[in-house]
Amino acid sequence: MRSFVPPLSRLLLWPSLMIALAFWMKGGASVGGGFPAGALAGLAVLLQYVVAGRDQTRRYVAVRYAAPLAGVGLLLVVGTAFLPVLAGYAPMSLFPRPDQPELGVGGLHLHTALVFEGGLMLIVFGLVVTVIDRFALRTGTDAEEESGP
């Protein structure tokens, strides 16, 4: 049992992240969106913490900088919402506007809502991973204290 769970879970990380990205990209058209994408990516990282431990998982850059990523996400969200105000539009004006033609390649629709959803994804991912990381940090020191003198 122990022998194949760690490699399998490590293998699962990248497909999960790919699915999360897909959720994000197609959120505007069908099932998906930034929020579940962030939660799914966070769960994928949670699995790594459970199986591989904190030190192993923190080798991924995105995990080490999860909290700043959430900050970037907030910037994206607030930027998408309020940058149009500078140009004289109402807040939360998305582009292309309703009467403008859509930009798209195949099933992919390019839209400023995508930036907004990306911000949501980063915020949720940042929250989940940071909380996991803090918990792992606490349990780690607990174990050390108990085993110490």
Binding site: G28, A67, L127, L137
Partner: protein, 764 residues
């Protein structure tokens, strides 16, 4: 854009002074003064070459918001006053602050901070007088409030100074919120915040009395008029240059300035103006009487400020175009007297009139210059001050003998307390003290020179005074300033006031102690006492609420749930109940839904009897998963997906959190929770009943296609065929932004809380 040049120069002063101060602390003052003078030069040059103008910078046109600036008589006069007096005060504090900081035991580099704050205050004041938009006016007003808080509380180790700063912040801040309410009422009523447009529309449709009273309260609080006057004497705990600036050209002038700027709105409202008139006379009398009996000379000057702005208020209420001139002439006189007081305190180390005296031999230049300033304040001829009382008497003479008598008494009292102040400092038996530093005396001499210049050549004052008066009235001003040697009412009143003042000064030893006793008795029932009682009661109320709320976790939860539940029940109670609670039908097609809901209800009921926190968490997540199932059956795969993911994440995080908590404490909490108290059942009943009834009522009124079809249609137009995504990112996008901000705040909380615990553990 040239209209912005003086404003930008004024705004640049504080950062420039800071940079210069990093290089050498002494350079900050010189840099700041140079910047202020440059801004003043730009202002005068533009005024002379281009005349009045306006600038509108569109900002958010779809919301009707723009940044509007004006250069008219009022803004020119007040900006020149703020910049000129500001430059002199900054130079003065170059000499004053090192000594003051040394006495307070603070490092010399704090001087740079002081200069920066003073210059920032000057910039805020310049901004306040040049903006032409109700919202920006409020922003600038609050800027002056905040910076004055920092300035008054500059001696932060001194509790009295901190208390005074807080008092001024609370009073002027609270009244400026009232001002904001008035500004909002006007803006919404007239559909614009642009001041000229508001004034233009108010000409056909006068503003409501409520809005005007709100605006007036803000201005009166700022100008320290009765009943908000008591913060000003307390603010004397500030270093003297601060008092000098706040009282002459800045903070206190801002309130009267607001009334002058908004005068066209007040012009038709005679009852509001009568109220202002009464308050003006009241402040005048009260301030003058207090100034006659106070002993610390800075407090004498503070009460004199209240009285003098009472005069200015009377002038505004009477609709006299001399009001801006009055404030502008008062500024150099009061600034010079404050600077004199500071110099005397620094040289002698004393702060009370009874402890100093006879300084005219040791400080002849200061004595002479401050004599000119005192003469200006009490309106003696050959000083610019003479004309401030001339316009005052002129306005009163048009209203009748009772007003003239009140003005006569007020002017007489002014002369009496000014004489008492000057004589108290410089008169009497000779006393020898070291000479004052030159930089402490020079600004007073410059101000005295200006006062004399205006008095000898009154023609210089006419053009700016008329421009300001015209800007205030919104009509051409016919103000005349000249000496007339005839028996007109103004001259008779002036002579009468001098006689009365001299008489009062000559006899003041006879009645001063009796007056002092009376005023002390009156002050026990004054507004200051009401203010303290109000604060005390508010403090008690909040302590009581806090203690109720934090006793334990269950009380805290109940304190949120019970009021919410009661509110819900009240809403249900006051709305009509007909057809409110319908019982629908259930068909075979709904069987999956019913099963999922039954599962959810069973899980919810099981939480009542569950032992152990982990089991509770699992049961609650069961509720969540069954609801996700409901969404899946109800053809909302999007919501179902999100619920499943969120539920999974939170269950795992909850389990992780439980693993962190010490197990014996968890067990104890569990045991306590198993013996519910009576009021817990009551709270749960109220909250549960309210939630149940509200949901039932809402679900009884679902109309299938009320918004659904429209939303689907709009979602397509917004290029988001997924309706949930369209609602989240577009239709209710701002809500999402708010929620995400909350998530990030929670993230910060988690980071700091868990980090904090770790630190505590490490120390133990």
């Amino acid at each position: 854009m040239p209209i912005l040049l003086p404003i930008l120069l004024a705004l640049a002063c504080a950062p420039l002074a800071y940079v210069a101060g990093r290089w050498r602390p002494g350079a900050a003052a010189w840099m700041g003064a140079a910047g202020a003078l440059a801004a003043m030069g730009a202002l005068v040059h533009e005024w002379a070459t281009q005349g009045p103008t306006r600038l509108v910078v569109p900002w958010a046109p779809s919301w009707g918001l723009s940044l509007e600036f004006t250069r008219d008589g009022l803004s020119g006069l007040y900006a020149a006053m703020a910049l000129g007096v500001g430059a002199l005060v900054v130079l003065y504090s170059r000499a004053y602050m090192p000594h003051h900081l040394h006495e307070e035991g603070r490092p010399a580099r704090d001087e740079v901070r002081f200069q920066g704050l003073l210059l920032a205050f000057m910039a805020a004041m310049v901004l306040l007088v040049t903006v032409d938009d109700l919202l920006l006016l409020f922003v600038a007003l609050d800027l002056t409030t905040i910076i004055s808080y920092l300035l008054i509380g500059f001696d932060r180790e001194d509790p009295e100074s901190r208390a005074a700063a807080l008092l001024s912040l609370v009073l002027t801040g609270a009244t400026s919120v009232v001002f904001f309410a008035g500004a909002m009422a006007l803006g919404l009523h007239y559909g614009t915040f642009s001041l000229p447009l508001v004034i233009e529309r108010a000409a056909h449709d006068p503003a409501s009395t409520g809005a005007l009273v709100c605006l007036a309260v803000g201005a009166l609080g700022k100008s320290a008029q009765v009943p908000f006057h008591f913060w000003l004497p307390r603010a004397m705990a500030a270093p003297t240059p601060v008092s000098s600036y706040l009282h002459s050209a800045a903070m206190v002038a801002a309130g009267v300035f607001l009334l002058q700027r908004l005068y066209p709105l007040f012009a038709p409202a005679t009852d509001v103006r009568d109220g202002l008139l009464a308050i003006g006379f009241l402040s005048m009398g009260m301030g003058s009487l207090m100034a006659l009996v106070e002993d610390p000379f800075k407090r004498v000057l503070a009460y004199s400020t209240i009285a003098q702005y009472g005069y200015a208020l009377v002038l505004v209420a009477l609709g006299s175009d001399g009001a801006p001139l009055y404030v502008a002439v008062h500024a150099p006189c009061k600034a010079a007297l404050f600077l004199t007081a500071g110099a005397v305190t620094q040289v002698t180390g004393k702060k009370k009139l009874s402890e100093v005296g006879g300084l005219r031999h040791a400080l002849p230049v200061l004595a002479g210059a401050s004599a000119v300033a005192a003469a200006g304040l009490s309106a003696l001829p050959l000083t610019a001050g003479f004309f401030k009382d001339e316009v005052f008497f002129h306005a009163l003479a048009q209203r009748g003998p009772a007003f003239m008598a009140a003005g006569l008494v007020g002017a007489g009292l002014t002369l009496a307390y000014t004489l008492r102040l000057w004589w108290g400092l410089f008169g009497g038996p000779r006393r020898d003290v070291p000479a004052a530093p030159r930089l402490l005396v020079a600004p007073v001499v410059v101000l005295a020179g200006l006062i004399l210049l205006g008095g000898v050549l009154p023609g210089l004052l006419v053009a700016p005074a008329r421009a300001a008066g015209a800007a205030m009235l919104g009509a051409p001003s016919t103000l005349e300033l000249a000496y007339h040697l005839d028996a007109r009412a103004e001259n008779l009143l002036a002579v009468g006031a001098w006689g009365l003042g001299a008489l009062l000064f000559a006899t003041h030893r006879a009645w001063a102690s009796a007056l002092s006793r009376v005023l002390t008795g009156v002050s026990h029932v004054g507004p200051e006492r009401a203010y303290r009682l109000l604060l005390l009661q508010l403090d008690r109320l909040s302590t009581w609420l806090h203690e109720k709320e934090v006793r334990d976790l269950r009380d805290r939860v109940a304190s949120v749930l019970v009021p919410t539940g009661l509110l819900g029940l009240t809403v249900l109670g006051v709305t009509p109940l007909r057809d409110r609670f319908k019982v629908g039908t259930v068909g075979w097609a709904d069987i999956t839904l019913v099963m999922a809901l039954a599962f959810a209800s069973a899980a919810a009921l099981a939480t009542l009897r569950a032992k152990g926190h982990l089991r509770l968490v699992l049961l609650i997540s069961c509720v969540g998963f069954s609801l996700a199932m409901v969404f899946a059956f109800a053809a909302a795969p999007d919501v179902a997906l999100t619920s499943v993911l969120v539920e999974t994440t939170f269950t795992l995080l909850f389990a992780g959190l439980l693993a962190l908590l010490p197990s014996e404490r968890l067990k104890r909490a569990q045991e306590e929770a198993q013996k519910p108290r009576g009021r817990d059942r009551l709270a749960a009943g109220v909250a549960g009943a309210s939630a149940f009834l509200l949901s039932w009522s809402a679900l009884s009124h679902l109309q299938a296609d009320r918004v659904g079809a429209r939303t689907v249609e709009l979602a397509k137009a917004a290029h988001s065929p997924n309706v949930v995504a369209a609602v989240l990112t577009d239709f209710r996008g701002l809500d999402t932004v708010g929620e995400m901000t909350v998530v990030v705040a929670a993230l910060l909380g988690v980071t700091s809380l868990l980090g904090l615990n770790l630190g505590r553990k490490g120390r133990r």
